[in-house]
């Protein structure tokens, strides 16, 4: 086992130091997230982890930092228990560590801790929240976490049995500690009958229909920063798990391609239709998570179908775009919730007048959801569509149809949500009479900036660097447009 990995303990030292202090220090958290980003980069440069880990870890660190800064005022104003910010920090830190972990042991350990912290967060929200289900945390634990454990232990069992069966000289825990790329060389095969068992946990984690029902419950009752992490980062872990599964094990790929195609299309239609009729802002976003992950499932299905490098870039950009816009929008809804005490969006108007900076971030997220160049959402849709059109056959044709459905549905979802920013501030907004911190506004804005920043990961892939010309030309324009939208939205009619 690689000793460099013990460097990952440093951020946890910062975490425990911040727990010991009575008053929470921003500097400590800044150090915590900066150190984990630097360590991830260092591990990548010394080839201890691979590009996929780095590409997912750095953006999640970026959004987690701002979510963490956002949480203080949120927790105080909403009268959450004082340990909520620490829980949020541990939640994000364990998830980032799960992304960085280069072997099955690290992944499973970190992921399981993250699941438990997630369960605590959901149950805190469940006790605190006025709206939402009363069984959300139990469903989360029994459906999402249990299915994950089921899958991951199936995978471990298969790996161990195969390795031990091949040679008696190897201990059963050996496959757990060697890096993924070494493990892939062993050629461990998943038999077809075990394949549904192996993928069900990750599919549940992504919230794909028909294993989606825990998601709107859990995401809508959790405190908003936790919802942001659950939706933006944790569902991305589902995709990450499937990606590792495909990478390490040999199996019948056709099964996976068709399953993802079918479930992805169903999720897009179901999630899209449900989210268009919600009046609870967080439920809307939760259902749109289902639709968004449906689209990611399509990208994954395409990648598994062809294994093209651009397919992988597309998949990663799709995951990151979802991470970017969903965290931003949950933080925005959190602000609404903080001001009013509830989060019904069907009558809430004029958010842009009250919090212009956060609304600018939210608009960037909506641009990404709609697909405006050069946001991450646009890049993902563009790359996938281009890949699909350039290799048309029966499977990619179906994927193309589902992607077009998603493009239309995402526009509908975005526009349903966008109403919150426009118009006169409604009288509801004075109801809670609570304040919004300046740091919260800036956090929401900078999280919104992630929708543009995350596109840069595709520069890693050869053959796509010309896209940067496009990126440089259009990013000032999209910022200008966001500014103009805010101008129009803030105008008194």
């Amino acid at each position: 086992m690689n000793t460099q990995l013990f460097l990952l303990l440093i951020p946890y030292v910062f975490l425990f130091t911040s727990i010991l202090y009575k008053k929470r220090h921003r500097i400590l958290r800044l150090l915590m997230y900066t150190s984990i980003a630097i360590i991830a980069t260092y591990l990548y440069s010394s080839r201890s982890i691979d590009a996929i880990s780095l590409v997912l870890a750095l953006p999640s660190t970026y959004v987690s930092l701002f979510i963490s800064l956002y949480t203080d005022t949120y927790s105080e104003e909403n009268r959450y228990p004082p340990y909520l910010p620490v829980l949020i920090d541990s939640f994000s830190l364990t998830m980032i560590s799960a992304f960085i972990a280069p072997n099955l042991l690290g992944l499973v350990t970190m992921w399981t801790i993250a699941e438990l912290v997630g369960f605590i967060l959901v149950s805190i929200g469940e006790k605190h929240s006025i709206e939402g289900g009363t069984k959300a945390s139990k469903i989360f634990l029994f459906i999402s976490t249990m299915k994950f454990e089921l899958s991951v232990f199936t995978l471990i069992a298969i790996a161990s049995l195969t390795v031990v069966g091949a040679s008696t000289a190897v201990a059963w825990y050996e496959p757990l500690t060697i890096p993924y790329w070494e493990l892939a060389k062993l050629g461990i095969e998943i038999p077809l009958f075990a394949l549904p068992l192996a993928i069900i946990g990750f599919i549940t984690k992504m919230g794909l229909v028909p294993l989606h029902f825990w998601l709107p419950e859990a995401h809508s009752v959790a405190p908003s920063p936790a919802s942001a992490l659950l939706s933006g980062v944790m569902t991305a872990m589902g995709v990450y798990g499937l990606l590792r599964l495909v990478e390490i094990y040999t199996m019948d790929h056709t099964f996976l391609v068709y399953t993802l195609l079918l479930l992805g299309s169903l999720s897009i239609i179901y999630g899209g239709l449900q989210s268009a009729i919600q009046r609870d802002g967080k439920k809307l976003l939760a259902y749109s998570t289902i639709a968004g992950n449906g689209f990611t499932a399509l990208a994954l299905s395409y990648y598994v179908y062809t294994f093209s490098p651009i397919g992988l870039a597309t998949l990663l950009v799709a995951v990151l775009s979802h991470m970017g816009y969903k965290t931003t929008l949950f933080l925005n809804t959190g602000l609404l919730e903080q001001m009013t005490g509830f989060r019904y969006i069907h009558r809430s108007r004029g958010l842009a007048t009250i919090t212009p900076l956060a609304s600018a971030g939210g608009l960037l997220a909506l641009f990404s959801l709609i697909g405006i160049p050069p946001t991450a959402g646009f890049t993902a849709k563009l790359l996938l569509l281009i890949e699909l059109i350039s290799s048309l056959d029966a499977v990619t044709g179906l994927l193309l149809l589902a992607s077009i459905a998603y493009i239309v549905i995402s526009v509908i979802i975005a526009l349903t949500y966008a109403k919150v920013y426009f118009g006169e501030p409604s009288s509801l907004l004075g109801f809670g009479n609570r304040k919004i911190g300046v740091l919260q506004e800036y956090s929401a804005l900078l999280t919104g900036a992630s929708n543009i920043l995350f596109v840069l990961v595709i520069a890693v892939y050869p053959g796509l660097y010309q896209y940067l010309t496009f990126y440089v030309l259009s990013s000032p324009l999209v910022l200008l447009i966001a500014y103009l939208f805010i101008t129009v939205a803030r105008r008194k009619v």
Binding site: G371, L385, I389, S390, G463, Y465, L480, L484
Partner: protein
């Protein structure tokens, strides 16, 4: 060279932004800055590395002239409505600038960026004046028109990407596209065209158009109708120029859509009483005619390409003028119901002259460009009759029907200035600013002045001399009538109401 051009674009955006932000403090400097931003792409054309050809030059000319007029008109319009102009003016000006820049793009990536940015600015124009109350319309526009357009743009990029790879496709110059020799099958031809015909409001993706055009504030509608629709025409022309489309699909699809839309648009236009709705449906009908001409391009590429350019110029100038005029009428009368407006010619004589020119241009009377465009169109389709009897006959019938109905709704439009109203006026009309009057006069003058330039396209050597004769006669008679009206015929002391002295 490319970096230089992008810096130049940024300078233009900065000029327009600064110009529209200081419009309240220093209107004169603002006007100079904005005009500079709009005109310079054509003045500095070779300095900045912008290359023009037969297809982009007319569109650029149209965009620049209309932009200046619409921008100035909007300034007056907003000043009367809101007093403070700058926040909204910046949106209108930047939209206009992006449209101009769209016509100067040279690479596939730029083309896509500017197209989508202009579409977004369009949705801003929809909610410009009424805010959240127009949100439903903006949603319809974005979902039907913009998503369809995006699908076509992505298809365009994908088709090139298959040939040379994604990264290269984005920075590919248009001028190098024909050398790739890309063939499109029927399905791809359909996909690549559907977004652009949706932008032109062609059946079956037409239903966003009347709502969007009617609910958008009138200066915005002028931009939609005069300029944004021309972007779609430009795109289809480029696609035909650079790809080997499946000719059968191309002709069949565009012809059917065009014929249906031309007849539907013209018929519906005659049945409405809302001034703006009439003109929106009329725009739709005109787009139908343009689609018919586009569909005929494979039969005689040179002739019909020039013809569609001519028709686009004609429609652009006329609709820019008519919608700015409607903006003025809205301010004057506070209603758009034509049965409640009348005698505007007597009440506001300053805009009467330019409206008459717009009317003449709409129905196609010399010396306006409409006459030349319609005559040439009918003659050119007629010439196809021996070789392609079915297509030519269908085209002739629909264009003929369209022309007849355009006469009907144009008369309705003019009745706003001439006939009497049924109700009593509630208030005296607001005084319109000189900016509005002069920009309308400028647009009216350009519909007449553009005709010699259009003749220089050299479309039909037989008809051109006759047209020149008509043009000279028309200009002479127009001058004569205006002189007679202003100098010789005295002003009526009282309003004349159908034979009874008031």
């Amino acid at each position: 060279m490319e970096a230089f051009r992008y810096i130049y674009y940024l300078v233009l955006v900065a000029l327009a932004t600064i110009g529209s932000h200081i419009v309240d403090k220093d209107p004169r400097v603002s006007k100079v800055l904005r005009a500079l931003a709009f005109i310079s792409p054509i003045v500095l054309v070779y300095l900045t590395g912008i290359r023009l050809d037969l297809i982009s030059a007319p569109f650029l000319l149209l965009a620049i002239v209309c932009s200046i007029a619409i921008s100035l008109h909007t300034e007056g319009y907003l000043r009367i409505l809101f007093g403070k102009v700058s926040p909204l003016q910046s949106i209108v000006d930047l939209t206009l600038l992006f449209i101009i820049l769209f016509f100067t793009t040279q690479r596939v990536g730029e083309f896509i960026i500017f197209w989508i940015i202009v579409e977004l600015m369009g949705s801003l124009l929809v909610i410009l004046e009424r805010g959240i109350r127009n949100f439903g319309v903006a949603i319809k526009y974005l979902i039907v028109c913009v998503s369809a357009g995006d699908i076509s743009l992505f298809t365009l990029l994908a088709i090139i990407a298959v040939k040379i790879g994604f990264g290269n496709a984005i920075v590919l110059e248009f001028s190098r596209l024909p050398s790739l020799g890309i063939e499109l099958d029927p399905f791809l031809t359909f996909l690549i065209l559907i977004g652009f015909t949706a932008k032109l409001g062609q059946i079956p993706l037409h239903f966003w158009l009347p709502d969007t055009y009617t609910e958008t504030p009138s200066p915005g509608t002028a931009i939609f109708s005069a300029l944004m629709s021309k972007m779609a025409v430009f795109a289809i022309l480029r696609i035909y120029q650079f790809f080997h489309v499946d000719t059968m699909t191309y002709i069949a699809m565009l012809l059917v859509q065009g014929i249906l839309t031309a007849i539907y648009g013209a018929l519906t236009a005659t049945m409405h009483s809302d001034l703006k709705r009439i003109m929106s449906y009329s725009s739709m009908g005109h787009y139908g005619v343009m689609t018919i001409i586009l569909s005929l391009i494979p039969l005689n590429p040179d002739l019909f390409t020039k013809l569609v350019l001519l028709y686009a110029l004609y429609h652009g100038f006329v609709k820019a003028q008519i919608f700015t005029n409607i903006a003025t009428i809205e301010l004057l009368t506070n209603t758009r119901d034509i049965y409640r407006i009348g005698y505007l010619g007597t009440m506001v004589p300053r805009i009467y002259g330019s409206s008459i020119v717009a009317f003449l241009s709409l129905i196609g009377v010399p010396p306006a460009l409409g006459f030349y465009a319609k005559v040439l169109l009918l003659v050119s389709i007629f010439a196809l009759l021996p070789a392609y009897p079915v297509i030519a006959l269908a085209g002739l019938i629909s264009v003929g029907l369209f022309s007849v109905f355009s006469l009907v709704y144009s008369m309705k439009y003019l009745s706003v200035y001439t006939s009497s109203y049924k109700s009593k006026p509630r208030r005296t009309p607001a005084a319109i600013t000189g900016l509005q009057v002069w920009s309308e006069i400028a647009l009216a003058a350009s519909t007449i002045a553009i005709t010699p330039l259009a003749i220089a396209l050299g479309i039909n050597s037989f008809i051109d001399p006759i047209i020149i004769g008509f043009y000279v006669l028309g200009v002479a008679s127009l001058v004569l009538v205006f002189t007679l009206k202003t100098r010789v015929v005295g002003k009526e002391a009282r309003i004349w109401l159908g034979g009874v002295e008031v």
